[in-house]
C-alpha cells in the first residue's frame, strides 16, 4: 500500500507505445504495458507476456508461447490475436505515422498459430530484436479497446497488461496510476503511483527536498546538485552506469581536424579523467570508445588515450598546427553539464595552444540541422544512449557512410565491418566484430570519447526496494513506501 510520487522531466504527450521515442514514455509505459519479453535492471532478457520462445528458420522465425490467463486492464483477454494486432498496427498504417516502426522493420509478418502461440516471421535475422520486444513500440496493446475507442482516445487513456492501471492524465502536469491487483507477475506492493512532469532540474530537486516527490528520474538531477541530495538525511542518491555516452566528435573532412594527428593531439590534450572526477563528481566513467561498459561490444582492453599535453603539442607541431589555431565546439545549449565540460575542454585545449570557442545550439537545431548537414565546427557534442545497450545501435549510426549522424566520414572498410555484423546471429562472432569496429574508430580518432554518465536517481529514504534501472525504466512492482 502507499503512494509513490515520481518526477519525470517530460510529458511524452501520448501514451500509445507507437507514438514516441522518448525515454520518459518508457519510464511510465513499462509499468502500464508489457512486452513479449522483459528486461530487468540486471539487463537479462527474461520472459514477459511470452513464457518462452524458440528461434526457427535460421533466425528468420521466432515462435512465442504466450502466457495464458492474462487480461488487459479493461478485462479484455490477452492472446495471440492481441499480439498480431499489436504488430500489425505497428507496422501498418497507424505505425507509419510514428517513429517506432523503423525499429521493427525486420518483422515481415505475425502468424497466429493458436490462441497462445504466435510466430514472428522476419525478413532477415535481427540479433537485437528480442531485446527490442522488451520495450517501446512492441508493447502489447488491447485490440478491442483500441478498435472501439479509437486511437486518439487510446493516446490519453492507455490500457495494457502491466502492474499498474491508468487512472488519469493531465497534459504537462502528470499521470496517475493505480495498482493492478490481477497482475500476472503478482500484485504490486504500492497502491498508487503518480508521475509528475517537472522539466526544471532545480525544481525537481526542490520537490524532492520538500518531500513532495519520492523519486526523481534521470537525467534530471544536475551533477552540481548531487551533494545537496546526499547531504539531506531524508534523501539518497542512487547512481548506476547508464546507457548515455558523451563524446566530442570531430569534423574529419575539413579544417585542422581533418588530420588524424591533430585529432589525437586534441584528445591527448584534455584530461578526461580529471573532468570525470571533478565536473562530473565521479558520476560517470571515462570511456575509450563511444559506449559504456554495459554495452554489448565493449572491450575492456581498449584504453583511452593518455592525458599528455606535451605529446599533444608535439603531435600538433608535427601536423603543422600553429599555436593560436582555432576550433569551434558545438554543444546543446540546454545541457548544463556539457556546458561546463566543454569549457573545461576549451581550457585544456588552450593550454596546448589551440583556441577553442563554444557555440551553444538549440538542441534540435544541432541534432536535425547542424550535424546532419555537416555544418558543425571542428568538434561537436554527441550524446547517445541506446536503451538496447548494443554497440551496433551506436556504431552503425555514427560511422556508416551516409547515416544521418555521420556527415563527414566515409570509410569503405568500416562500412563493411558495420554491415557484416548485422546479419550474424552468432553472439561471440558479433561481439568480436563490434570490438574490432571500436578499435578501428579509436585508431582513426574519429571522436574524443568523454564519459559514460550514470543514471542518477534521487530517492527519498522512505522508498524501499527501488530498482534503479540503468535504462530509466524502473518497474515498480516490488517497491514499497513507509
Amino acid at each position: 500500500a502507499g503512494k509513490l510520487t515520481i518526477s519525470s522531466p517530460q510529458d511524452p504527450g501520448s501514451w500509445d507505445p507507437i507514438d514516441t521515442f522518448l525515454v520518459n514514455w518508457a519510464s511510465v509505459g513499462t509499468n502500464i504495458f508489457d512486452g513479449l519479453t522483459y528486461r530487468g535492471p540486471d539487463r537479462k532478457l527474461v520472459p514477459g507476456l511470452a513464457e518462452s520462445w524458440t528461434e526457427m528458420d535460421g533466425g528468420k522465425r521466432i515462435r512465442f508461447k504466450l502466457r495464458s490467463g492474462v487480461t488487459f486492464h479493461n478485462g479484455e483477454p490477452f492472446n495471440a490475436a492481441a499480439v498480431k494486432f499489436t504488430f500489425d498496427r505497428l507496422l501498418g498504417e497507424e505505425g507509419a505515422k510514428g517513429p517506432q516502426r523503423s525499429n521493427y522493420i525486420a518483422i515481415e509478418s505475425v502468424e497466429v498459430i493458436d490462441d497462445t502461440t504466435v510466430d514472428l516471421k522476419l525478413k532477415a535475422p535481427d540479433p537485437v530484436l528480442l531485446t527490442k520486444l522488451a520495450g517501446y513500440g512492441a508493447m502489447i496493446v488491447p485490440p478491442k479497446y483500441i478498435q472501439e475507442k479509437g486511437d486518439a482516445f487510446f493516446n490519453v487513456n492507455p490500457v495494457g497488461t502491466g502492474p499498474f492501471k491508468f487512472v488519469s492524465y493531465a497534459p504537462k502536469t502528470g499521470i496517475k496510476l493505480e495498482a493492478n491487483p490481477n497482475y500476472w507477475g503478482g500484485a504490486p506492493k504500492l497502491s498508487e503511483v503518480e508521475y509528475r512532469f517537472i522539466t526544471e532540474p532545480a525544481t525537481a530537486v526542490a520537490e524532492l527536498q520538500a518531500g513532495r516527490v519520492d523519486v526523481v528520474l534521470p537525467p534530471t538531477i544536475p551533477i552540481g546538485m548531487v551533494p545537496v541530495i546526499q547531504a539531506d538525511p531524508k534523501l539518497t542518491v542512487l547512481s548506476i552506469p547508464g546507457p548515455t555516452v558523451d563524446a566530442l566528435r570531430f569534423n574529419t573532412k575539413s579544417g585542422i581536424t581533418a588530420d588524424p594527428r591533430v585529432r589525437k593531439a586534441l584528445i591527448m590534450a584534455v584530461d578526461r579523467a580529471a573532468i570525470v572526477k571533478s565536473i562530473l563528481a565521479g558520476q560517470a566513467s571515462e570511456i575509450a570508445s563511444f559506449q559504456g561498459e554495459l554495452s554489448f561490444g565493449y572491450d575492456p582492453a581498449l584504453k583511452p588515450l593518455p592525458f599528455d599535453p606535451k605529446g599533444a603539442q608535439a603531435l600538433l607541431a608535427q601536423a603543422g598546427v600553429k599555436p593560436g589555431a582555432t576550433v569551434q565546439i558545438d554543444i546543446r545549449g540546454n545541457d548544463a553539464t556539457m556546458n561546463e565540460v566543454a569549457q573545461a575542454v576549451a581550457a585544456y585545449l588552450g593550454a596546448v595552444g589551440v583556441v577553442a570557442t563554444i557555440k551553444p545550439y538549440e538542441t534540435n537545431v544541432l541534432l536535425n540541422d547542424i550535424i546532419p548537414q555537416g555544418k558543425t565546427g571542428a568538434m561537436f557534442q554527441q550524446k547517445w544512449g541506446g536503451w538496447t545497450f548494443d554497440y551496433d545501435n551506436t556504431a552503425y549510426a555514427m560511422y556508416h557512410s551516409g547515416e544521418k549522424w555521420n556527415p563527414y566520414e566515409q570509410d569503405a572498410d568500416l562500412d563493411k565491418l558495420l554491415e557484416s555484423q548485422r546479419a550474424i546471429t552468432d553472439v561471440a562472432e558479433r561481439e568480436r566484430i563490434l570490438k574490432q569496429i571500436a578499435h578501428a574508430v579509436a585508431d582513426k580518432a574519429l571522436e574524443m570519447p568523454l564519459y559514460n554518465s550514470n543514471a542518477i536517481y534521487g530517492v527519498a529514504k522512505r522508498v524501499k526496494n527501488f530498482p534503479p534501472a540503468s535504462d530509466n525504466r524502473p518497474k515498480l512492482t516490488e517497491v514499497t513506501v513507509d
Binding site: 546538485m225 584530461d271 561546463e340 569549457q343 563554444i358 551553444p360 538549440e362
Partner: protein
C-alpha cells in the same frame, strides 16, 4: 543616524545622487575595460582541483571559484564586458530605431503612424521569449544575434513612448510658433521635439540596460545563450543557479555586479534627465 537622515533629505542629495551614480558607473566601467590588465589571463584560468572554493578564504580567489575552479572575481570583472556590451548596444540600437519611428509616426501621423502602430500591435502580441527561442533556433545563439533580438523586440517601447510625447508636444505653442515661423519639419523634430522628449527616453534607456542584462541571463537559463567560455554576468548567474545550495557565491557575485551597475546607471540617468532639463522642473 539622525544626521545622516537629514543629510539625505537635504537638496544636496541630488548631487550626492550624481556622485554616487557617476562613481559607481565609472568604477564599474573602468574595472571592466581594464579587466585584462587587472587579471591577466585570470578569467579563463581553470583549476579543476580548486573548484568551488568558498570566498574570503584565500588572496588568490577572494570571491571564491566557480565549478571549473576559475576565479569568480576575475570572471565577474571580465563578465562585465559582454553584459555591458549587450546592455548598451541593444538599448542604443532599440532607442535609435524606436525614437526615429516614434518621431515620424507622431509628427507626420497618417500612414506612417498607422504602419508603425500596427507593427507595435503585432510586436506586443508576440511574447518575447517565444520570439527569442524561434529567432535563436533559426539563426543560432551569438552575441550579435542576442543583440539583434533585443533590438527587434524593444524598439516598439521607445516608439510608443516617443509617439505619445510627440502627440502631446506637437500641439504645444512653441512647436506651433516654430511652424508659424516656417521652420522645416526635420529641424522642428531635431531641435525642438527631440530635446523635449529625451528625458523619459533616458529613463527608459537606463532601465532597459538593466532589463537587457537580465534578459541575457534568462536566455542562458533557457539554453539560448552565447558562448559560455566568454564570461557574462547573466550567464554566470544562470549557470550558477544549480549551485545555489552548495556554492552561493558563484551566482551571488555576478548578481551583485548587475545590481551595482543598475543602481549606478539609474542614478546617473535620473541625474542626466534632470540636468538636461534647464528648467529643473521635471519630476524626479
Amino acid at each position: 543616524m539622525a544626521a545622516a537622515l537629514s543629510f539625505l533629505r537635504s537638496p544636496r542629495f541630488r548631487n550626492l545622487e550624481f556622485l554616487l551614480g557617476a562613481s559607481l558607473t565609472l568604477v564599474i566601467c573602468l574595472a571592466v575595460l581594464f579587466s585584462d590588465q587587472l587579471f591577466p589571463g585570470g578569467a579563463d584560468k581553470m583549476d579543476l582541483m580548486a573548484r568551488l572554493s568558498p570566498p574570503f578564504r584565500t588572496a588568490a580567489h577572494p570571491l571564491g571559484t566557480d565549478p571549473l575552479g576559475r576565479d569568480v572575481l576575475a570572471r565577474v570583472v571580465a563578465g562585465g564586458k559582454i553584459s555591458l556590451l549587450v546592455g548598451f548596444v541593444s538599448v542604443a540600437g532599440a532607442a535609435v530605431i524606436g525614437v526615429l519611428m516614434g518621431l515620424i509616426s507622431g509628427y507626420y501621423r497618417g500612414i506612417c503612424d498607422i504602419v508603425v502602430m500596427r507593427f507595435a500591435d503585432v510586436q506586443l502580441a508576440l511574447p518575447f521569449i517565444l520570439l527569442a527561442i524561434t529567432f535563436i533556433a533559426i539563426v543560432g545563439g551569438s552575441l550579435t544575434n542576442t543583440i539583434i533580438l533585443l533590438i527587434v523586440s524593444q524598439w516598439v517601447q521607445y516608439a510608443r513612448l516617443v509617439r505619445g510625447s510627440v502627440l502631446a508636444l506637437r500641439e504645444r505653442e512653441f512647436i506651433l510658433s516654430a511652424r508659424a515661423i516656417g521652420v522645416k519639419d526635420w529641424r522642428i523634430i531635431v531641435q525642438h521635439l527631440l530635446p523635449n522628449l529625451i528625458g523619459p527616453v533616458i529613463v527608459l534607456l537606463t532601465l532597459n540596460v538593466a532589463n537587457n542584462i537580465l534578459l541575457e541571463s534568462s536566455l542562458t537559463f533557457l539554453g539560448l545563450g552565447i558562448d559560455p567560455t566568454i564570461p557574462s554576468w547573466g550567464g554566470m548567474l544562470a549557470s550558477g543557479r544549480t549551485y545555489l545550495q552548495v556554492a552561493w557565491w558563484v551566482s551571488v557575485f555576478p548578481g551583485l555586479a548587475i545590481l551595482l551597475t543598475v543602481l549606478g546607471l539609474n542614478l546617473l540617468g535620473d541625474w542626466l534627465r534632470d540636468s538636461l532639463d534647464p528648467t529643473g522642473r521635471t519630476s524626479r
